[in-house]
């Protein structure tokens, strides 16, 4: 790592004492730097972003955003402050001997005299970081080039040749796994093997690309990159119940061959194109929910920065192949990306937050109007019903307290504060899901959004479930409730100003799941500013009864009862109609609002904002800049348009490289998320550029690329190893054979189910369960027996972030923590244990055997033959038949099936 600068260090005699007035950089200053600073601020390391071995580095601001050397101002120069040790913590050098007084004096005098440092004396030259292959425009091509031309050219120059073509069966299995993640059926194999027409290969490719199975396979590659999951991550890891519309969007986009530039624009600004679910891209990262973030302001600011940071990381890695996220705390170590670039890019997303919202749909205006009318009718009914509830008055008995809903009506009274005191519950500490306070007009004036403050005697906090904020958040149910810290206590609401109120509505759990923790003895009091509390209602006039019975109408007279019943019936009907009208799927996606001001943050610290920044693209690559007050959609659209302009040198290259990697297991650029200077150079630069140009020319058609690739001779080569070529190119980067590789986790499971005959091809919608929990704190016990939806393709599993599937997770299945640009192909004993001993393997072995017996009967030879055909697409060789026969006779057909599921031939793309 030290060889790039072959520096001929010139040795100085350390004799030259400072003679006042004439300080020479080379003679007096550089030796001090060399002796004390270069270990950390030289060619190898640039701690805090500072290097002192070249002029441009020394006068640069580094991470402190303040030049280290300010000519003429020694006292203000960090260099002097640090070597002097003004701040003991920042003293330089931090270890070892300190600079002598003489040395400090020399440095001080040199800076005072103007810090003269002639550029030409530097022994190392600054590297132009923008001078990098992937930042340069695509070269135009002419003539009849194709993939094979470029691959052969490279092979020839390395003294290698292509391998002979694979046999037809191998090619068919390869292309089927590759494009759909599933093996060909015996019928598809038979049809292809007899189809000697020259168009046979092309027809297979067309069939595979038009199958919905194609999108289910290729979407997974993209979901790896964007770290998609169906839970929020971190310790609470709650379900992200409506993440899946984004997963389905990606599958559809591949199936529809959505032009890739459009695919990018939709993910950044799908709300502007009627593709709302695509904005799930912005928020795929793990996220701390509000209850997990500290209540102090600094914690909130940090959480917001983290949220935005993940959007920048996702956008820059997925589309541009650049790790812009590295520049959050300091200028990028290798690439031409400054901290300012990072915050300018972040500013494009300043109006984006994470959240759940209905997918914008194309509901007509009349439909929306109708919905509004229905909603107000529901409010009227509620009010009418609630007005039938007897008022608190002497001698009137009121219905028993119940868990679902309680209404306390009283003579209108002026109030600034309402206090609800619980004296006894039916069990444990009291819990109230929402406290509503209505004025005479029927408005709930208790909502936090109206500026109502709350306090409580004690609160038992359970993040995301019981918090004091939930008492008046307008949301119902146990998971949005307040719980008292002790078995008795009070909660109080304070309004911004006085109201006349007449009704208080409260419940333990309006969603009807819980009936414990119910306040069975309580007092409601109101007060004005003077703190003179007046009781308006309490439980003493309530009858006792079962808290689970919702509507006790027995106190009403018969006429009222009839009226109530008809109102409730009407309400039910109205609610059904409303649900139909407003029926819209929710999406966990970007929530778009007014952009907040963005600042450069010193060393990434949210508590140290520096200059304001406006949205601007990476300065090394473009000059698109927006005004500081540019509204949100304009920002995201501007970024999307810049990323997808054909002139952007990175976008098409990065995209086609991912496609290539999907086919060959490794990209032309091995580091698919990193086209920067720390990434690897392309193995076939010309091919990469040709494919990128061809991709753009085709209208960014991914299926066009697939056709070019899988119909090439390069792709059709045998996978067999040739020891001479192997010795030259063991990693097969030059493609002298087809690089066979293990199937991915999802394909192994899907293929086992396909072969056993149990695969359910239902598409889309919420994911099926791999665990008995869909998210939460207490761990994820795996499901072992699968049926119904559990037999769907694995991309439709409800993906728990960080928790690997108990069988297939071990096969390098991404955990959705950090972006996975390319799956590793590890081989571990845990994989072997899982695949050999899991219940799923045993069950599918049984099902597989049953399928075979159903088809061919009891004859062992026929059973083995059909088993081989289904699993490997071929008939067994005589020695295999003999071996298998004795096993099937002694240990049963499922034993053969179990061995097959574990066999290399089954697990590898040939």
């Amino acid at each position: 790592m030290k060889l790039q600068f072959t520096i001929a260090f010139i040795l100085f005699s350390a004799g030259g004492k400072l003679s006042a007035g004439s300080i020479d950089f080379v003679r007096d200053i550089r030796p001090i730097f060399e002796g004390n600073c270069y270990d950390c601020h030289g060619a190898d390391k640039q701690k805090s972003g500072l290097r002192l071995d070249m002029r441009s580095g020394a006068f640069d601001a580094g991470e402190f955003h303040q030049p280290t050397i300010i000519p003429g101002k020694a006292d203000e120069s960090n260099l002097i402050r640090f070597v002097r040790g003004d701040d003991e913590e920042m003293r330089m050098p931090p270890k070892g001997e300190r600079l002598t007084k003489d040395e400090i004096a020399t440095l001080t005098a040199w800076i005072e005299q103007g810090a003269i440092w002639p550029e030409e004396v530097d022994l190392v030259k600054p590297v132009d970081r923008t001078d990098h292959w992937s930042f340069k425009p695509l070269k135009p091509f002419d003539g009849d080039q194709n993939i094979d031309f470029f691959v052969r050219e490279k092979l020839t120059s390395n003294g290698l040749v292509m391998s002979p073509p694979a046999d037809r069966l191998t090619w068919l299995r390869r292309v089927s796994f590759d494009l759909t993640g599933l093996p060909p059926t015996p019928e598809q194999i038979a049809a292809f093997l007899v189809d000697t027409d020259p168009g046979a290969h092309a027809r297979v490719v067309d069939r595979l690309l038009s199958s919905p199975r194609y999108g289910e396979r290729w979407a997974q590659h993209w979901l790896d990159v964007v770290r998609y999951a169906d839970t929020h991550g971190f310790e609470v890891n709650t379900p992200r119940a409506n993440a899946w519309p984004y997963r389905d969007y990606v599958i559809e986009a591949f199936n529809n061959d959505t032009p890739f530039d459009k695919f990018i624009r939709e993910q950044l600004a799908g709300d502007q194109f009627g593709k709302d679910a695509a904005t799930g891209f912005l928020v795929t990262a793990a996220r701390l929910l509000p209850g997990q973030i500290g209540k102090d302001a600094a914690s909130l600011r940090l959480a917001r920065q983290d949220e935005l940071g993940e959007i920048v990381i996702n956008t820059s890695e997925a589309f541009l192949g650049l790790s812009v996220g590295c520049a959050r705390c300091h200028n990028h170590k290798f690439d031409a990306i400054s901290a300012k670039d990072y915050y300018s890019m972040q500013a494009f997303f300043a109006g984006v937050s994470y959240g759940e919202r209905p997918i914008q749909s194309s509901k007509s205006e009349t439909e929306l109007e109708q919905a509004e009318k229905l909603k107000s009718r529901i409010r009227e009914i509620d009010r009418a019903f609630e007005n039938l509830v007897p008022r608190v008055s002497p001698g009137v008995e009121r219905p028993p307290v119940n868990a679902l809903l309680n209404i306390d009506r009283f003579t209108p009274v002026k109030a600034r504060k309402v206090r609800f005191t619980i004296k006894k519950t039916n069990l444990y500490e009291p819990c109230i899901d929402e406290l509503e306070v209505f004025d005479s007009q029927g408005n709930n004036i208790a909502l936090a959004s109206l500026g109502v403050e709350r306090s409580a005697s004690t609160t038992k906090v359970s993040a995301n479930q019981h918090q004091i904020e939930f008492i008046n958040d307008g949301r119902f149910g146990n998971e949005r409730s307040w719980m008292c810290g002790q078995t008795t206590g009070w909660i109080m609401l304070k309004f911004p100003h006085e109201h006349t109120i007449e009704r208080i509505v409260w419940a333990r759990d309006r969603n009807g799941k819980y009936a414990d923790r119910l306040a069975v003895e309580y007092v409601i009091e109101v007060a004005n500013d003077s703190d003179d509390w007046v009781v308006v209602a309490d439980s003493t006039d309530r009858r006792s009864g079962d808290p689970k019975i919702q509507r006790d109408l027995s106190t009403l007279d018969p006429k009222q009862q009839t009226k109530t019943k008809s109102l409730l019936e009407e309400k039910k009907q109205v609610e059904i109609r409303l649900a139909e009208l407003t029926n819209s799927q929710k999406i966990f996606g970007g929530i778009f609002g007014k952009p907040e001001p963005m600042h450069l943050l010193n060393r990434g610290d949210a508590e140290q904002p520096m200059e304001a920044v406006v949205p601007a693209v990476l300065s090394a690559l473009g000059d698109v800049t927006l005004a500081k007050d540019a509204p949100d959609p304009e920002r995201r659209l501007a970024l999307a348009n810049w990323i997808t302009t054909p002139k952007n040198p990175l976008t098409a290259r990065v995209a086609i490289n991912r496609i290539w990697q999907g086919h060959f297991g490794i990209g032309l650029v091995e580091t698919a998320n990193d086209f920067g200077r720390a990434g690897t150079a392309p193995s076939h630069p010309k091919l990469l550029d040709w494919l990128a140009s061809e991709f753009i020319r085709s209208g960014w058609s991914v299926k066009h690329l697939h056709r070019l690739i899988v119909r090439s001779e390069t792709y059709r080569q045998s996978e067999q190893i040739n020891s001479i070529a192997q010795a030259k190119d063991a990693d097969v980067r030059l493609l002298w054979r087809y690089p066979s590789r293990r199937l991915e986790a999802e394909s192994i499971r899907d293929t086992m189910l396909a072969v056993s005959g149990r695969l359910d091809l239902k598409t889309g919608g919420p994911g099926f369960d791999l665990f008995t929990s869909r998210g939460g704190l207490s761990g994820f016990p795996p499901i072992t027996k699968f049926k119904d939806d559990g037999l769907r393709r694995m991309i439709y599993a409800h993906k728990i972030r960080m928790e690997p599937d108990s069988v297939f997770g071990a096969f390098d299945c991404p955990d959705a923590g950090q972006s996975v640009s390319r799956r590793r192909q590890s081989t571990t004993p845990i994989q072997a244990l899982n695949l050999f001993n899991s219940q799923l393997t045993i069950d599918e072995s049984e099902a597989f055997a049953q399928r075979v017996r159903d088809k061919v009967g009891q004859e062992v030879r026929a059973q083995i033959t059909y088993t081989y055909e289904l699993a490997y697409g071929r008939t067994p060789e005589p020695d295999e038949l003999t071996d298998a026969k004795s096993v099937v006779r002694q240990n049963g057909l499922p034993t053969l099936c179990r061995a097959i599921f574990n066999s290399s031939e089954f697990l590898f793309i040939p």
Binding site: C326, G485, P829, L833
Partner: protein, 491 residues
């Protein structure tokens, strides 16, 4: 960090740059193929990264420099143990009990702050050093003379999940490799029949950051921790009920023949050879893991000394059995053992998150932790295992000197807390770093957890700046771009 020439190499080639230090691994036919080809391709350069032979991923590898410790035991107390009730004695806090903290935060992690609250346990001097340690942990307190305490640690997060990530992976985000993963990636294992890295979850459940604490992140999957405990065996170690041993054997031997035949038809394919080897290692694990987990061979006096026979407290007995399992794993050469005490978020009921009723809950938790963990360390010492085993006691952050308003517990405090080490390479009887007189913040020799982790790697003979793995544009490290070895605790 990579050099600019390496930019043009494949990642495999870059891996080769680092072969020199790690050539302790006995190259098989398989790896020598790759070696030769890379030699031809890239030339020979020096470097720091381990080279993994895919058919022997756990082969022992040589560290950067001579190690003080060969193995690590991490006792991980989930939920954030209060430093003020354990190791960080604050007489001033006793004096100021019930008074507000002048200039302190009005709002802490969970809400409004209350008044200062004295340590909830008595402290007394221990051993030769006379260091004050609390009565909450009388057995562990007996070890004080052997321990190096670091009282001035800081975390980057005040939320459990990210903070446990930070402690175990060096990053607050999900998805980075765990320390045990780094250690087994670097060093392999001394035992080829057991996993190199074992995580033993608490009997009450998984810790708050769960698999993040032992996950591989972006390291190859070989290097993740294998979770199992005395009560929960390795998953899929045995075939499910209903499959006869005869059928098991028949399937395994048929599979062996099938894979051998397939390899013969694909000569030279290292992936296929590695797959066969993985089934062989799995078969060895199927024998050795049940054997090592079978505590029935432990003598009664050992069970008693750990508290594993405590029928009245099954959680304590369960944790004690996990402690015995940890010792057996270390005895058998497992590289990295992570032993959890405390489970997931539960209002402090199942772990050390004492927000509301700290004393009441800590009475329960300390009973579970104290005797078994102390017995484990004494047992390791008695058997001479501390000669080459580093023992680390840690927790994700500390707690505030104030009680929370209206509660009898302390809120999260990432600004100054205590973890400790003992055993191989550790200077005994040291107390390094200081928090202020009330224990609110670290004020002297402040060490972010990066330094703690760098020190652990250092004791294993690994330079935390040189142990790297390329991912998404960066040579990643356990310590990000930070970290200084805490020399003061080294023997």
């Amino acid at each position: 960090m990579i050099d600019h020439q390496a930019e043009h190499l494949s990642l495999g080639g870059r891996g080769f740059l680092n072969r020199r230090a790690f050539l302790g691994n006995n190259a098989t036919a398989l790896s020598s193929i790759a070696l030769t080809s890379l030699l031809g391709q890239e030339g020979l350069l020096a470097g720091d990264r381990p080279v993994i032979d895919p058919s022997q991923p756990y082969a022992p590898r040589v560290p950067h420099f001579a190690p003080k410790a060969k193995k690590v035991l991490v006792i991980f107390c989930a939920g954030a143990v209060s430093q003020l009730e354990t190791w960080d004695y604050k007489p001033e806090l006793i004096k100021q009990d019930g008074k507000p903290l002048e200039g302190g935060p009005a709002v802490t992690f969970q809400g409004p702050a209350g008044n200062l609250a004295r340590p909830q346990y008595e402290f007394r001097p221990r051993g030769q050093t006379g260091k004050m340690v609390s009565d909450m942990i009388p057995h562990l307190a007996e070890l004080t003379d052997d321990i190096a305490f670091i009282h001035s640690l800081t975390s980057k997060s005040n939320t459990h999940g990210p903070a446990e990530n930070f402690l175990s992976t060096g990053f607050v985000q999900d998805g980075f490799p765990s320390m045990g993963g780094w250690a087994s990636y670097a060093l392999g294992s001394e035992n080829q029949n057991l996993p190199a890295f074992v995580s033993i979850p608490d009997p009450r459940g998984v810790p708050q950051a769960s698999v993040n604490n032992w996950g591989p992140g972006f390291l190859p999957a070989e290097f993740q921790g294998t979770p199992f405990s005395a009560s929960k065996p390795v998953r899929h170690l045995k075939s499910p009920l209903g499959v006869s041993p005869e059928n098991d054997r028949a399937a395994r031997s048929l599979l062996q023949r099938m894979n051998a035949r397939h390899l013969k038809q694909h000569p030279g394919d290292g992936q296929l050879a590695a797959r066969i080897a993985s089934y062989e290692l799995a078969a060895r694990m199927q024998l050795s893991v049940p054997e090592i987990s079978d505590l029935s061979t432990e003598p009664a006096h050992i069970m008693k000394s750990y508290g594993a026979d405590d029928d009245a407290n099954p959680t304590k007995a369960g944790f004690a059995k996990n402690c015995i399992l940890a010792r057996r794993l270390l005895e058998n050469g497992v590289r990295f053992v992570q032993l959890f005490n405390g489970a997931y978020a539960s209002g402090g009921k199942l772990n050390w998150d004492g927000h509301s009723d700290l004393k009441g809950q800590y009475d329960v938790h300390s009973e579970i932790l104290d005797q078994p963990a102390a017995a484990l360390i004494k047992d390791l010492k008695a058997r001479g295992l501390l000669e080459d085993t580093l023992v680390v006691w840690c927790t994700e952050f500390g707690r505030m000197p104030m009680f929370q308003k209206g509660a009898q517990g302390r809120d999260h405090n990432p600004d100054g807390f205590t973890c400790w080490m003992t055993g191989a390479g550790v200077k005994p009887g040291v107390s390094h770093g200081l928090t202020d007189e009330l224990g609110r913040k670290a004020v002297e020799d402040i060490h972010p957890l990066y330094d703690f982790n760098a020190t652990i790697l250092h004791l294993l003979g690994l330079d935390h700046e040189r142990l790297t793995f390329y991912h998404n544009g960066i040579e990643r490290r356990l310590t990000n771009v930070e970290g200084n070895v805490i020399k003061e605790v080294l023997a």
